[in-house]
Amino acid sequence: MASEPVEEEYISDIGPPDFREMLPPVIKKNYGKWKYHEVLKPGVLVHVAESGDKVYTVRAGEPRLMSTQSIRQICELADKYCDGYIRFTTRNNIEFLLTDESKIDDLIKEVEELGYPVGGTWDATKAKYSLSNIVHTQGWIHCHTPAIDASGVVKSIMDALFDHFKNMDLPGLCRISLACCLNMCGAVHASDISLVGVHRTPPMPDDDTIRRTCEIPSTVSGCPTGALRPDMKRKTIIVDESKCMYCGNCYTMCPGMPCFDPENGGVAILAGGKISDARAPARLSKVIVPWLPNNPPRWPEVVDVIKAILETWAAEAKPHERIAEWIDRIGWEKFFEKTGIEFKVQLIDDFRQPRHTFRTTTQFKW
């Protein structure tokens, strides 16, 4: 359904504004000519250019869901302190770029009064790291496939880990990400800690909806485990429940195949992924908790596990060591022992070519 036609000049395919029009003068002048940076205190960086110019960055966490009213308030601060320029980061932070060091503290005060905490930075030279903001998806605010909410779980976790965002008190980088279903529009599969909303029940086909809204052959062939077959006589889809691993792909393709179940859906937790190639190479996160209940408004079971991982790692890791590298050193058997997380049978892979994850050596720890 197209929206109503509008009688006016039609502009299309102009693309985004040229970023060069959006750069503050100090950035434009020193573009590509930055020499080094330092971390002045949590949330505050200084980048020094070859010209000797300095730009100060004040980083503040935002909740991703932002009202235009809040954006306007942030713009007011950017006008007052940053000559009308502002930037954001890939992890939902606001960054104020200043040239006058003496204004930093006043700005921080005003940003925090608005409710956006300053922090989320790290100083590799001193091996002091803050927790960075959580990247996440839409959840119940806007999504049609989520097994859990997103913003509420993230808020609960960040409330519990708030001090680690404000202070650079962690031994290494820690990226937490959340996706509210396996579609993972947040692509959380290579994070130090990731949370994923999972279904645990097969799709419930509604014959009438399938007939009205689905292309049956593509839905059937889209099932990665071959659990679907067409019922051509009745023009619907039959599910072999024993083959379903609840990925939800069929629901994405066909509105008649929802997997939702408020009591059985929940949260899987993964750990030990990383993306940066610094020291140990990038790698995928591994499932460490197959399921926790979907328990709004504060998801206490989930928060407890995240805290257990983070605090155990923070207490034990050597400087710079991320969760993946810490586990490399101590071994998975020690990871489960130290964090107190129960090793469940579901953590042993039985999907595609699982034997590559089995231990084929007599080397292990007691």
């Binding site: 359904m1 929206s3 036609p5 509008v6 299309s12 102009i14 693309g15 985004p16 029009e21 959006m22 573009y31 080094y36 940076h37 980048h47 935002e62 991703r64 869901l65 009202s67 235009t68 009213q69 954006i71 306007r72 713009c75 009308g84 320029y85 502002i86 980061t89 890939t90 606001i94 956006y116 905490p117 030279t125 990247v135 119940w140 999504c143 989520p146 909410d149 509420g152 808020k155 609960s156 960040m158 996706a179 396996l182 529009c185 692509a187 599969h189 809204t213 593509s218 062939s221 990665p224 939702f260 993306i275 940066s276 190639d277 610094a278 020291r279 990038a282 995928l284 504060r298 400087p319």
Partner: protein, 412 residues
């Protein structure tokens, strides 16, 4: 809002982290109908299920994507959000804004939408959350007048994204922002008109720290690297040592290939660059003393994606190095070849990584004209089950013919 009305959501107004519930409340002050969003959300919190219906095809004139249709199951009870479509608006490279530009977006969204946004969505777009079908076209037109355009959705090129790059980072090995903008502008048609088996993402990181998570989150990751020696400023090494940085422990012992030596007495670093894998750790720790070399460019990793369908993938190396000044042309040429092959062979909802897995790297490399390189693999295959082609072989000899002739000869 009164907390008694929304008891579960009001729990999420407490605590030190910024509250998304408060952001919705701020919006309700301006637009009372958005209270229906709180109503529906509270109901989701009670019942532990989404109340958004599946899809609905809505769009603007001439575009096949950029708008995500959304309808409520609770339309009767929550008429203010009965239609609540999302518009994905292509962000400027590096998320840099003038406040003037940001205010223009706010003005448009206050006039035509809910006033709620995401700054930003996972792919990089500004997400404008919640408008009606009727308002889509006027909103699009107003955004265009303000200089903004829609991003990608569906089986299209998704909005490219890049790290902050040379704008504010000394590690950037090429101009990530210029490349991001160039790709975005070159492929407006691919971005706005879905025509492929499934989605395709470009992400661009200026160095191996990979701050936009390109290798995990994009089918085609462009990540900066270099070829020559790390540059050392020994004076700055000394200064770091004098300031108390334990260089042996923080740098030398952390090097993954053990290619750094530190002379404790002279306070000097020596790097065996032949064995360096350019992981960035030493440069991250000593940014004043160490810099990447001058022969700069990027490598390409293919296939990064989330689990649906065949499991999560971190992209794998297909091109180890492209010099910075050849990057834009080489990337476009290669990406177009990848698209042609994928478009020809891919099944519905099959990402590039899954197609390569199904068809094999040999077919892929041949199709896009890349030579095999040991840098593409962690180790060679552990099985000898490969497909030889006719041109690799001498003419086929029939074993039965040999044996039968031998038997025949014996009989005679």
């Amino acid at each position: 809002m009164s907390d008694e009305e929304f008891p579960l959501l009001s729990e999420l107004k407490k605590g030190p982290w910024p509250s998304f519930v408060k952001e919705i409340e701020k919006t309700v002050e301006q637009k009372p109908e958005i209270k229906d969003l709180l109503k529906q959300l509270e109901r989701s919190y009670e019942d532990k299920i989404t109340y958004w219906k599946h899809g609905g095809i809505v769009s603007v004139k001439g575009y096949g994507g950029g708008v995500i249709g959304r309808y409520s199951f609770l339309a009767k009870e929550c008429p203010g959000i009965a239609e609540f479509h999302t518009m994905r608006v292509n962000q400027p490279s590096g998320y840099f804004y003038t406040t003037e530009a940001l205010r223009k977006i706010c003005d448009v969204w206050d006039e035509y939408g809910s006033g709620l946004t995401n700054m930003h969505g996972s792919t990089g777009d500004i997400i404008l959350l919640g408008t009606t079908t009727k308002n889509l076209q006027p909103c699009f037109n107003a955004l265009a007048k303000a200089g903004f355009d829609l991003g990608g959705s569906g089986s299209a090129l998704r909005t490219p994204n890049a790290c902050v790059g040379p704008a504010r980072c000394e590690f950037a090995l090429f101009d990530t922002l210029a490349l991001c903008y160039d790709l975005t502008m070159t492929y407006q048609d691919e971005l706005h008109r879905p025509m492929w088996p499934y989605k395709f993402k470009f992400k661009i990181s200026g160095c191996p720290n990979d701050c936009v998570a390109a290798k995990a989150r994009s089918d085609f990751a462009i990540i900066g690297t270099w070829k020559d020696e790390i540059k050392i400023d020994q004076e700055q090494v000394k200064k770091y040592a004098e300031e108390g940085v334990d260089i042996q422990k923080q740098v030398v012992e952390q090097c993954p290939t053990k290619c750094i030596e530190y002379d404790e007495e002279k306070k000097e670093l020596k790097i065996d660059n032949e064995n360096c894998v350019r992981c960035m750790h030493c440069i991250n720790v000593l940014p004043k003393a160490l810099r990447p070399g001058d022969v700069r460019g990027a490598c390409i990793l293919l296939g990064g994606k989330a689990p649906i369908l065949e499991g999560p993938v971190i992209g794998w190396l297909i091109v180890p190095f492209i010099p910075a000044d050849e990057l834009a042309d080489t990337v476009k040429d290669l990406a177009e070849k990848v698209w042609d092959w994928w478009d020809e062979n891919g099944k519905y909802r099959e990402r590039v990584a899954e197609l390569v897995e199904r068809m094999g790297m040999m077919n892929f490399l041949e199709a896009v004209g890349l030579e095999p390189d040991p840098r593409m693999i962690k180790h060679p295959r552990e099985n000898p089950f490969f497909f030889w082609r006719e041109e690799d072989l001498k003419p086929r000899v029939d074993p039965w013919k040999i044996w039968r002739e031998a038997e025949k000869a014996l009989e005679e």
